[in-house]
């Protein structure tokens, strides 16, 4: 067992590299993970160093004598570390938003049902898919209303909608404020490169291509999706306000193309949230437990060699 020099004992003995102390993890040499170390123990040491770890190890010994010295110099370090991925505030606001958004969608449906009532005379003019006089589908079909038990619950819908709109709005405003103040917006807002990356990522996800482009916290597709959904939230607030007070803020309503247009926009933004939700949950399932857990506990287990996110938060 190699002896540990006293001066470095603290950082390695504790076994938990402090995530904030990025300097430590960067200066330490790359190590193979436990399984690889076991399997390659009989091989020459040079070969035992996993070549795909990217960061070349400076301590690869050529002679036993040198090696022993180097091992004394370099204490054993964990091959993994905990990365603080999601700040506490983000996690709370993310999870608060989940039921609140669903309450808004559900109560919105209860309200919207009323527009499809009396459909024989006034089929929903606003919420349809079609071009000109050709209507492909009017939303929603009767079986859907029945399924979600929407009929004759308009007042309940209005009551909930005008209650939780405050939670939705305040949560969203706090979220954006936090992004701006903490610098977290830098990991979220797409760069020029993100748009090309997003196409690549999508192709990889569809198994049409191999090899993901390099990324930091989020890939290009994620950056675009997460930024869009925040903007959609803003869109829902603005279109919602223009429907809620179309006389008092008629200039907003007019800018949005009028009352009916604003309702159309409000509706399709909601459909956008639903689409986002489906893709988001699908991707989270594919990404696995380590990723999902980080949205609850904040920490993700990453290879020790992975660059810290702090820098991206600081400088983008």
């Amino acid at each position: 067992m190699p002896e540990k020099p006293k001066d470095k004992e603290e950082s390695s003995e504790s076994g938990k590299p402090v995530p904030e102390a990025e300097g430590i993890s960067e200066t330490l040499p790359a190590r193979m993970d436990g399984a690889e170390a076991q399997a390659s123990a009989d091989e020459p040491v040079v070969a035992a160093v996993s070549p795909d770890l990217g960061q070349p190890t400076t301590s690869v010994p050529t002679t036993p004598a040198v090696r022993v010295v180097s091992e004394i110099d370099e204490p054993a370090v964990a091959t993994i570390r905990l990365e603080k991925k999601h700040p506490l505030a983000i996690r709370w606001m993310h999870w608060v938003n989940f039921p609140v958004l669903f309450t808004m969608i559900w109560s919105g449906l209860l309200i919207y049902w009323n527009d499809s009532d009396n459909a024989y005379q006034h089929p929903h003019a606003v919420y349809r898919v079609g071009v000109g006089s050709l209507t492909l589908v009017r939303l929603f079909p009767p079986w859907f209303w029945k399924l979600i038990n929407a009929p004759y619950r308009v007042t309940e819908g209005l009551g909930y909608h005008f209650f939780f709109m405050w939670v939705f709005a305040i949560n969203g405003i706090l979220y954006v404020s936090y992004l701006l103040i903490s610098g977290e917006w830098r990991v979220l807002v797409p760069e020029r490169r993100s748009f090309l990356d997003a196409i690549q990522v999508t192709l990889v996800d569809l198994h049409l291509r191999k090899g993901l482009p390099p990324q930091k916290k989020y890939n290009g597709a994620q950056k675009i999706a997460y930024t869009s959904v925040v903007l959609m939230g803003l869109g829902s607030l603005v279109t919602g306000l223009s429907i809620y007070k179309p006389t008092q803020v008629h200039w907003i309503t007019t800018l949005l193309g009028g009352y009916e247009m604003a309702r159309w926009e409000h509706f399709w933004l909601t459909m956008g949230f639903c689409a986002f939700f489906v893709v988001h949950v699908g991707q989270v399932i594919l990404a696995g437990w380590n990723n999902f857990r980080s949205m609850v506990s904040g920490y993700e287990i990453v290879p020790a060699t992975k660059a810290s996110l702090e820098e991206e938060r600081r400088v983008g």
Partner: protein
């Protein structure tokens, strides 16, 4: 001869042994070294493994802690929803939700002050307004029997239109002579109407077989499934009404208004010419129904503000004006409450014409309200009474779960 040879052989043998021994020793040395090397590397792997395990353990600890907090938060959230949903009903709406509607109204008043003007449109954009809701209009009103009751007017007693009991005025009705273009309050397609060319989203040719058409009472907005019971009028009022042997008031779902006048209430009885002598105004605005539809409508009529100026409310003892205005249909089946300020809005119109023609009976002839700062359910048809009051007036749809304020 052999001594030298033997000696040589012996020497050689010894050298060989020594060499072998040395080799063996070297081998041993090497083996020892290699074992040590292996041992070191094994121990190093174990050490790394232990460090990794420590990281994982730390992660596990954090995860457990976070999921505990998450579970507590989820339970709290669920509890909150449950509390909200099971809160006692206040006029068919959970009290916290009702309370929030009032808070929202306060916020709206504070920010917008109800003074914004609704956008207006060219007449060419206007269309025939849907008929939607016939409460208080189920019989035709004989035009000659129409009087507008006004209560709470300043110095009413000295005006020639004053009567001791405005409720004693008897409106005359007759059976509907002409149905409206679409009397579809029952949500069943009128038999007379041809469905050719109409969209048929329910696949039942509009016969009312679709799930949307079934199960509800006449009202589009509230069904039998609505939570909370009917709002009952005070029993003494019901008793007084019964004693008078008149047609009972408040025959629709929301029941009798708590703000309807007690018999013996003094006030003014105005003929239509008291209204039609005011300056005439026309307005093309978008009518918005809380059901979710809207239509641009061409209105003609008289400003409510002008009528209020002509018959101003009596001031209270402290010199201030009453806060509210209450209106109802002559039969008391439909009724609305407003703030005095909303009635003073320049676009609040006593409409007597629609689409350039005199108002039809099914649209509320002789006079209905148009108020673009409110939803359609506040724009009462066939106004029989305008009363100034300082008590929050009852309101038909508020009793069935809707917002009293309804401000747009």
């Amino acid at each position: 001869m052999s001594d030298g040879r033997e000696e040589r052989e012996e020497q050689e043998q010894r050298r060989k042994w020594e060499k072998e021994k040395k080799d063996r020793d070297d081998d041993l040395d090497r083996d020892w070294e290699r074992d040590g090397e292996r041992e070191r590397r094994d121990s190093r792997a174990v050490e790394v493994e232990a460090l990794d395990a420590a990281v994982r353990a730390q992660s596990g600890q954090r995860t457990r802690r976070s999921f505990l907090v998450a579970a507590a938060a989820a339970a709290g959230g669920y509890g909150f929803y449950r509390w909200l949903d099971r809160s006692p009903m206040n006029m068919r709406l959970q009290e916290p939700l009702r309370h929030m509607l009032r808070v929202n109204a306060k916020v709206s008043r504070a920010i917008f002050d109800e003074r914004g003007l609704a956008p207006t449109y060219p007449v060419a954009k206007s269309m025939e307004l849907r008929t939607n809701g016939n409460y208080g209009l189920k019989m035709d009103l004989v035009p000659e029997s129409y009087r507008l009751q006004m209560v709470g007017v300043e110095n009413a007693g000295r005006l020639p239109q004053y009567v001791d009991d405005v409720t004693a005025w008897e409106y005359q009705y007759r059976v509907k002579q002409e149905a409206g273009p679409v009397e579809h309050d029952t949500k069943v397609r009128p038999k007379s109407e041809d469905s050719a060319g109409k969209a048929d989203p329910n696949g039942d040719a509009g016969a009312g077989l679709g799930p949307m058409m079934k199960g509800g009472p006449a009202s589009t907005m509230v069904g039998g499934r609505a939570k909370g019971g009917d709002q009952k009028a005070p029993s003494e009022l019901s008793a007084a009404m019964e004693k008078m042997k008149r047609r009972p008031r408040g025959q629709e779902e929301a029941g009798m208004s708590r703000s309807t006048l007690m018999p013996g209430t003094p006030g003014l009885l105005l003929k239509m010419d008291e209204v039609t002598s005011l300056p005439h105004h026309e307005l093309v605005t978008e009518f918005k129904c809380i059901e979710g539809w809207s239509q641009v409508v061409h209105w003609g009529g008289y400003r409510l503000a002008d009528l209020i100026a002509k018959f101003p409310p009596a001031k209270k003892a402290d010199g201030s004006l009453p806060k509210y205005v209450y209106m109802e249909t002559p039969d008391g089946d439909y009724y609305c409450g407003f703030s005095l300020q909303a009635c003073m809005h320049p676009q609040s119109l006593l409409a007597t014409e629609m689409g350039g023609r005199p108002l039809a009976q099914w649209h509320g002839a002789p006079m209905r309200l148009h108020m673009p700062i409110k939803y359609g359910y506040k724009q009462i048809k066939r106004i029989g009474l305008i009363a100034y009051t300082d008590r929050l007036p009852d309101d038909y749809w508020t009793k069935l779960g809707y917002d009293w304020y309804a401000g747009l």
